[in-house]
Symmetry: C2
Subunit: 176 residues, 2 copies
Amino acid sequence: MEETVLKSEAVFKGRVINLSVLDVRLPDGTQSKRELVEHPGAVAMVALDESNNVLLVRQYRIAASRIMLEIPAGTLHANEPPLECAERELQEETGYRPGKLESLGGLFVAPGYTTEFIHLFLATDLHESRLQMDDDEFIEVERVPLAEAVAMIERGDLIDGKSIAGIMKVARRLGI
Amino acid sequence: MEETVLKSEAVFKGRVINLSVLDVRLPDGTQSKRELVEHPGAVAMVALDESNNVLLVRQYRIAASRIMLEIPAGTLHANEPPLECAERELQEETGYRPGKLESLGGLFVAPGYTTEFIHLFLATDLHESRLQMDDDEFIEVERVPLAEAVAMIERGDLIDGKSIAGIMKVARRLGI
């Protein structure tokens, strides 16, 4: 069932992503091409305060041509352990340091063409602690009760993949 | 909060995706660059048989370097309505035609860099009807009780973003 890479041609090397075109041998012995986005991976955090409000971030996303509500997230720096990245990104995007970070597993965002894997965390025991955001990020933070975040997903007001996965996992775990 | 595109440079035009690099004006008036993957969009189906088993597809994903379990899905053809695409792809990948397709909303897979939006559907009233798969697809179909699919998500055995979102939405809707 596996595919074997016969040749890999680097097409683009960017700031966040690289793009390659692969020649692959398919399971039946024939050949095909695959377009592959290489991404360093990321973290995303379902951050809950003591009243089970979720911290959401609102930001313009040019790929979606709209302002979107998402859980806080960020790209892994080179060799950065996901747990450290989660702690850093939560402080940068929301101004809170998590006293506790638990793994919620993770997900491939689009395994048909991008290597990006997102490590999901449940962040609790939040303490105010601001880190400087990246220069090109413009983010507003909102607090929403977890049950309302689930209702927003059901209504189609929250349409970011990692956010749906993370919030639905936590809602189920907490019986909300 | 919005960003304005000042210049768009096409870097690559592929079979499935295109890549552009954008010069954008940020909300504070400064400029930055964005790497943008253009994707035609896709559909994914939570297909349930009469016993509430979910149909899952197992296939090798070179971007994830592994065989993955996912809900059936596929890329929109040019000008193809998502509902028609869902009906076509389910028959191609599983050999079943859905008598009923209900929208489960949708999601952006990675709004930081790709335009891909996946339309999610609940497919029921399944009837055997095989359509020819794409030449480069090698897929095995499995039936898993919906409750077991949720358990697989919780154990980390099902780690595809759209599949987690779709299955968790349906499990909640059905009280499973």
